[in-house]
Symmetry: C2
Subunit: 424 residues, 2 copies
């Protein structure tokens, strides 16, 4: 019995992967006009199907209530407004410039040939995400706009909503006579299916996992396919002694408390030792008033009232995603960079300083995907960077780094046009 | 005893990886001027050490003779000329524009902040290659120029030459007061060390394997670190009925015979069925005269004298790297693209055609890193593309595709400069 199921899952996985590869061959050559027509139709259908979507979503919520956290229920829940936002998001993606067929580089070689480097789709993308039904539509729309086929695997709690949303997108494909398998949704939360798909190097070109640390670690361990990770954000803000002190409190409060459960929230403030206690208190007090718990070493406990013992150094690695943060005093920008090198997740780190040389030192020495000068870490975001909707925020260094827009779903090919040239 | 050795190797691997990460932090911020100074000194030292290099190389050849193929001995062997070429290569790399700190994109956001995307090094690179001592110097110079630290692992047959060459580069680093561990050479061919290093995600950012199919498969299976593969080249040339027949024979002969053992050599010719026997014979005869063996299905055997039975269809997957090739007749460009989709390694594929619409169809539908129109597949090469020395030819789709120059050893970071902005 178990053996039979395992075989079924294997066959289902292989079918998904093969279908995706086949569909990828079709969508990679679709003209922009047709891709946009599908997107606009999908947006229209989303608006038409509001009642059905809400009904499917209610089913998901009903089965999950009391089983998952309130924050997760919140992410899972759709409303007429959030469905309208989804439809608008798809229309915005339709309005994007075409990321495909762009000539990225072009030159004439000495032997008279023309060489160009042209943007092309990656192929088939396996997109793994949380129980957020709206990401189903974002993922489908972004991959399709960039000429990729996608296999979507949402969290199990959102299965009814996500299935319906994927089917709405598929019907927009079908009505335009395009292989519906350009967008497929995995119909089972079975982990063995995921494991299976992660071996399919012949059919799948890229895996993008989002979600919890354990899920991402599992994906990286199991995958034979290249992975771009949206990992956690252990973001730091260093306050230099040259800082304009009027800027510090607003930035810290924004970075820590404006939205707590997000990857670009600050988790640790690094304070230059030369800043006096009164100035420190001036930017710490507003955080305390917001209810932020603070942890630190002996020095931090001595200098900042209310700081609790951080315990093990490994706690500097923690991503609290809560009204909680670490406080540490450092000697200078070099010392701050050293701490960041050791504990940052290379997502986003910031400096508050007026001294230009110190700003530059920090920007150059911090090896994170986003480095902020005199601004909140919360700005690390595809929308803020003008990329339109984002697939995620890459904490990897290869291919795409930081907020990933539609261009990060493209690669390139070299095209060499000659007139019979041979190599000597 | 075995256990002790295993532990030694683990410790050695960890030391290599930690050293590399530490050196990466230093070299990533070195000014161009210093990086070039090191390169020029390394070139000078190579010239000074010709006798010692030849002596080390003689040791390698002596231990390998009769154990490896003549072609491999040929790749292993250095001469005063090839050492001079190495020195010149390093000087050329010194003359390259700086791939680092380039502003790839820059804009002012609505809230007044400036956002830029800046080229930065990847970090620590683990470069695995064949028994070609000159690649030691290429790898060291390209990684150092691009601000990366590198762990080099050459084939075991070249251990004496490669060790000396790496040490020459290291002495150029040392004389400039730069951490020598920016360039490290693995001192043992032990596979368990490689396996070990491939797990070190905390210290190594990228793995570039070159070499045999099995080695690369092993690396992909074992690595938890992102890999860019230089895999095999199963390159096709499709001859359309619109081809200028005077161009066909020279291109085919060049692509198949100019250098036989290379990845951009042609392995299969696809011939449009409508081309008559006489025209076919006109371009096949010169290949036959060069001693090229030909294999094909019943149709190819019937239409082309001397074609042997190819047997299983899976033989279309073969990379011969010899005076041997497959011949197949196809209905049209679409049929050719279908064959290529199925059997190509996505390295380089070419069309010979005068009809522009058919050229465009082929360029768009062939999903290979290089697509050639009316030119030999042999042009797929970093030197030919004007990239300077190349790290390899990526058969992957992510990050870098096709010939990989020094820019493919860089990634980017986003830098956001504000004036106290917070997110609303």
């Amino acid at each position: 019995m178990v053996k039979k199921m395992k075989k079924d899952i294997e066959q289902y996985g292989l079918a998904l992967a093969k279908n995706s590869k086949k569909a990828a061959q079709i969508v990679r050559v679709l003209p922009l006009e047709i891709r946009n027509r599908v997107l606009l139709l999908a947006a229209k259908k989303l608006r038409q199907e509001v009642p059905a979507i809400l009904k499917a979503n209610a089913k998901d919520i009903e089965s999950s209530i009391n089983l998952i956290s309130e924050a997760m229920i919140d992410r899972l829940t759709l409303s007429p407004d959030s469905i309208e936002a989804m439809a608008k998001g798809v229309e915005e993606i339709a309005a994007f410039d075409d990321p495909l067929n762009k000539v990225l580089e072009e030159k004439t070689l000495d032997n008279g040939m023309t060489l160009s480097r042209v943007a092309v789709p990656i192929g088939s993308v396996f997109f793994i995400y949380e129980s957020r039904p709206n990401v189903t539509i974002d993922g489908a729309a972004l991959c399709f706009k960039s000429g990729n086929a996608v296999i979507l695997r949402g969290g199990k709690e959102s299965i009814h909503s996500s299935t319906l949303l994927a089917n709405i997108f598929r019907s927009a494909l079908k009505e335009n006579d395009i292989d519906e398998n350009a967008v497929q949704l995995v119909n089972t939360p079975d982990r063995s299916l995921m494991t299976n798909l992660l071996q399919m190097t012949a059919y799948i070109d890229l895996v993008i996992p989002r979600g919890g640390e354990n899920l991402i670690k599992t994906v990286v361990e199991q995958s034979r396919i290249p992975v771009i990770k949206h990992f956690n954000g252990i973001c730091h803000i260093y306050i230099d002694k040259s800082a304009d002190m009027t800027k510090v409190a607003p930035i810290l409060v924004n970075a820590k408390t404006q939205r707590v459960g997000v990857c670009n929230a600050m988790e640790c403030v690094l304070i230059n030792r030369d800043i006096d206690d009164k100035a420190v208190e001036a930017f710490i007090a507003p955080l305390r008033e917001k209810g932020v718990e603070m942890l630190g070493d002996a020095e931090a406990q001595k200098r900042v009232p209310g700081v609790q013992d951080i315990g093990e150094d490994s706690n500097y690695h923690r991503e609290y995603l809560a009204l909680k943060m670490n406080v540490k005093f450092v000697e200078d920008a070099a010392d701050a960079c050293e701490h960041i090198e050791k504990y940052s997740s290379r997502h986003t780190d910031a400096i508050i300083a007026e001294d230009q040389a110190i700003q530059d030192y920090f920007v150059k020495n911090v090896d994170s995907s986003s480095v902020m000068v005199n601004a909140s870490t919360r700005f690390a975001d595809g929308g803020e960077y003008g990329l339109g909707a984002e697939v995620g925020i890459s904490t990897d260094k290869l291919h795409a780094r930081g907020p990933m827009g539609v261009e990060s779903l493209c690669t390139y090919k070299w095209v060499l046009r000659g007139n019979g040239q041979i190599r000597s």
